[in-house]
């Protein structure tokens, strides 16, 4: 049995979309661990100023995402709070032999990422009304997208490690995977998929504080080469909401996984490789 919980304040204006994103984010951990989500409990913090319609829309967004995931919402709890928040406690199941952790990567494994990065930067821009409608739609769609389909593509391939990219940013989660597996990871920064306009906003300094906190926290674990561009490195530290799966898989199985991801209409890009452990957990080139 796998249990996971997450909730956070609104990062987009539309309450229905916020509900979808919060639910996709809460359910994601079960997929990362190789499980199938089954039931969920809603967690809702309601501000006095919120209308019934807004509350209904948040819960409807969550319910629709849960339905897509095949998850039954069995109940929940709400409290009053000046800052609204929503999320879920999710329960799923996995066969003990199929449970994936973030620490089983093997030397030579390729590193595959299934969603483009930059949601922290773009939602910061959105909060300041700097985002065009098209980019806003793209980032919301990306965050609300379930990791279910990417997880299904991995079935029968037994990747050696998997996690989802969230608040610690790509490099934080990768450093954790490398250290837990007693290996070092090399990331080719130019190959990492980025959401449209994330680079432009990073160059203009529209970067959330969490990205700098991640960088400072990881400074002894990560070596960044001079060839890596600063604006891309900033995005590699950007905290993600409902980010993609970060998968370590043998070279032999990686091709099959990439083909399956493509066939399912999912994004899947090789961003680096695990090597023998050296002084740093991650090397960014």
């Amino acid at each position: 049995m796998i249990q996971t919980i997450d909730f956070f304040p609104p990062i987009v204006d539309d309450p229905y979309e916020f509900g979808q994103i919060a639910a996709a984010n809460s359910i994601s951990d079960v997929y990362a661990m190789g499980g199938e989500p089954k039931t969920a409990l809603n967690l809702l913090c309601v501000a006095e100023s919120m209308s019934k319609d807004v509350i209904r829309a948040i819960l409807a967004g969550g319910a629709d995402k849960a339905m897509e995931a095949g998850v039954i919402i069995a109940g929940g709890h709400s409290i009053e709070d000046p800052e609204p928040k929503y999320g879920m406690a999710v329960t799923g199941y996995a066969h003990p032999d199929q449970v994936r952790t973030n620490s089983g990567a093997k030397e030579g494994d390729l590193i595959i990422l299934t969603k483009a990065l930059g949601s922290g930067i773009l939602t910061t821009a959105l909060g300041a009304d700097l985002l065009d409608k098209e980019t806003e739609k793209l980032v919301i769609k990306t965050m609300a997208h379930l990791n279910k389909y990417a997880a299904e593509a991995m079935q029968t391939l037994s990747p050696s490690a998997c996690t989802d990219v969230t608040g610690f940013g790509l490099l934080g989660h990768l450093a954790e995977m490398a250290t837990g597996s007693d290996l070092s990871a090399t990331v080719i920064s130019q190959n990492v998929p980025l959401l449209n306009h994330a680079i432009a906003f990073a160059k203009d300094g529209i970067i959330p504080g969490g990205a700098y906190r991640n960088r400072d926290f990881l400074k002894d674990s990560i070596e960044i080469s001079n060839e890596a561009k600063r604006e891309i490195v900033d995005i590699l530290f950007d905290p993600q909401t409902s980010g993609g799966l970060l998968i370590a898989i043998s070279e032999k199985d990686a091709d099959t996984l990439l083909k399956r991801l493509e066939g399912a209409g999912e994004s899947g890009v090789v961003i680096g490789q695990f090597k023998q452990r050296s002084s740093h957990a991650v090397y960014v080139k």
């Binding site: 910061t124 821009a125 909060g127 300041a128 700097l130 990073a202 160059k203 203009d204 300094g205 529209i206 970067i207 959330p208 504080g209 700098y212 600063r230 604006e231 900033d234």
Partner: protein, 68 residues
């Protein structure tokens, strides 16, 4: 010389205020900053848009002088 006081403000407001001051064109622009995040973000905005940034730490705060 114009001055922008961003102390106590959270991002991205300090960057936006700095951008507005730079666009008015009276250089140098002096920016007071009280936190690491706006310090880094203003540096990025200015350097990527062709300005030079000089940084002076004053107690727990910073003064950035931005020139061409």
């Amino acid at each position: 010389m114009s001055q922008v006081d961003t102390r106590g403000l959270s991002c991205p407001e300090p960057v936006i205020l700095t951008k507005q001051a730079l666009e008015q064109g009276t250089l140098p622009v002096s920016v007071l900053v009280s936190d690491m995040t706006p310090l880094e973000n203003i540096r990025r905005y200015a350097e990527n848009n062709g300005y030079k940034v000089e940084e002076k730490a004053i107690a727990d705060e910073w003064e950035l002088t931005i020139t061409k």
